[in-house]
């Protein structure tokens, strides 16, 4: 198995009590698969991704990538966050070169950076500062930066969540194209049902408090999915039904919290 998440539990302890964020998560992902992790806010999906990235330690359980246990962040797992997280004191090109600077000569790193910036259609912006770019363009640079170090897995934490609808739709298209070209394994966290159906081979639906896997759905709709609106709508309805009880749970808890404070 390529990426294996085994018996992962995560608890956060604050002053008063320990809260379980993830409970017994088991998941196996094949090489080249596009997998979405879908769930309502607070289900721990971002925490799970952060554990795979090596930025957060699980309370128990382990993650294996190609049989090797993950203990810390590494270049074999590229990450794209909700905010582009580009370094403002560097140009676009220098940002993409950042993960390459140790193993390559400058000239070689620049060539690789340009190659990936071309992939996200930003080759005209290499010398620009990040603040001169729109949010969608910044996010494309972040994707190029993560891809440039040739990771085994691309981790994406609601990467299009902060963008407007039109930009998001364009980036879905671009991401799908990149994925078809590179055949990277992608782990994609989202709370949007339609986004997960549009993009992924598999959808892992998570429930909340504690975070558990509710269902592992294979998406059998042929790509491009926009050509099959009926099948998409049917699947969307099914997932909506799965999540409705979870969303109700969150709403109820939040109301109770508000009432007590």
């Amino acid at each position: 198995m390529f990426l294996k998440i085994q018996d992962v539990n995560k608890q956060f302890v604050n002053q008063k009590e320990a809260s379980t964020v993830l409970s017994d998560i088991n998941l196996e992902i094949n090489e080249g698969e596009f997998v979405s992790i879908l769930g309502p806010s607070g289900c721990g999906k971002s925490t799970l991704l952060s554990i795979v990235a090596g930025l957060t330690k699980p309370t128990s359980g382990e993650i294996l990538l190609n049989g090797q246990q993950i203990t810390k962040p590494g270049k074999d797992r590229g990450m794209v966050f909700q905010q582009a997280a580009l370094f403002p004191w560097m140009t676009v090109e220098e940002n993409v070169m950042f993960p390459l600077r140790k193993e390559m000569k400058k000239k070689e790193a620049r060539e690789v950076a340009h190659q990936f910036l071309q992939k996200v259609q930003l080759s005209n912006y290499t010398k620009h500062s990040p603040h001169e770019l729109s949010g969608g363009m910044q996010q494309r640079v972040a994707i190029a930066r993560a891809l440039s170090m040739n990771p085994k897995v691309l981790l994406m934490d609601e990467p299009f969540g902060a963008l407007d609808e039109q930009t998001r739709s364009r980036l879905h298209h671009e991401l799908e194209k990149i994925w078809l070209e590179t055949k990277k394994t992608i782990l994609f966290v989202t709370h949007s049902i339609s986004e997960s159906i549009k993009l992924s081979d598999r959808i892992i639906v998570m429930g909340t408090r504690p975070g558990v896997i509710l269902e592992d759905i294979k998406v059998q709709i042929p790509r491009p999915r926009a050509n099959h609106p009926q099948m998409t709508a049917k699947l969307e309805e099914k997932i909506m039904g799965l999540l409705q009880t979870e969303i109700d749970k969150v709403v109820k808890e939040e109301l109770a919290y508000a009432a007590n404070n």
Binding site: L55, M79, F81, A85, F87, W89, A146
Partner: protein, 253 residues
């Protein structure tokens, strides 16, 4: 109307009113000299080059003191931000010292270094270092965790993470720190020079005052104010604005 024109009119009115009041009431020049007298004293000072030497001497001290203060402040700020024990001990001391105006150190500085440039430079360093330290510390502490996380996923850690990400990310605070350090150091320098020795603007001001030469006293006060304003507006504010825009901390220019 452009701001520059508004300013010119404003200052022209002040000078006219000032001149009018002094002349009409016949106030003695040893109490309040008229602008024309002040201008005359300044013209003479620049003609015989004494004021030019004073400005250069003051700037030399300020430059030496400020460079040392900024280097020390950056170092101490990093130490406080990175080491919890240092922050809890030395950090408290620095906050306490910050509330003591640096000029009150002058008597002890004169005992240590003698009545000379070193004592004044010491005051200048002290004035700049503390505020630089405090800003640098905040700058390092306020680096967005997102930058750090992103860098970690790209294989950066330890010293590399600090030098390539954390330090550059804190630059906006360092620039603000340097601007404040300059302001504190400039005030400390003038006070130090008045109370100790010259050459320097502060010393010449004291000297003029001892001889009742109020024309020169006010002339030098104006020079001090003008230099301070020019440094702040022309240099520091411009640098600060550019850095803030580039670092994406200011959305509209």
């Amino acid at each position: 109307m452009r701001p520059t024109i508004k300013r010119i009119i404003f200052f022209a009115i002040i000078i006219l009113v000032w001149q009018g009041i002094v002349r009409m009431l016949g106030i003695s020049a040893s109490l309040m000299p008229a602008p024309t007298d002040v201008f005359e004293a300044l013209a003479q000072g620049f003609a015989d080059k004494t004021l030019i030497y004073d400005i250069l001497a003051s700037f030399r001290r300020l430059a030496i003191g400020l460079v040392i203060a900024i280097v020390l402040g950056v170092g101490l700020g990093i130490l406080l931000a990175k080491n919890k024990t240092a922050d809890e001990t030395l950090g408290t001391l620095i906050l306490a010292l910050q509330s003591v105006p640096s000029i009150v150190w002058l008597p002890i500085a004169i005992m240590w270094f003698g009545l000379n440039e070193k004592a004044v430079t010491f005051i200048v360093i002290l004035g700049g270092t503390l505020v630089m330290t405090i800003n640098m510390r905040i700058g390092i502490k306020n680096v967005s965790p997102l930058y750090i996380k992103a860098a970690q996923t790209m294989g950066s850690r330890g010293l590399d993470l600090f030098a390539k990400v954390i330090f550059p990310a804190s630059v906006p605070y360092a620039v603000t720190g340097a601007r404040l350090a300059w302001a504190f150091a400039w005030r400390a320098l003038m006070a130090g020079e008045i109370l100790s020795t010259g050459p320097g603007l502060g010393y010449t001001l004291k000297y003029a005052s001892d001889f009742g030469n109020m024309k020169l006293v006010i002339g030098i006060m104006i020079i001090i104010g003008v230099i301070g304003t020019i440094m702040d507006i022309v240099f520091f504010q411009r640098v600060e604005k550019n850095v803030l825009r580039r670092w994406g901390l200011e959305t509209n220019s």
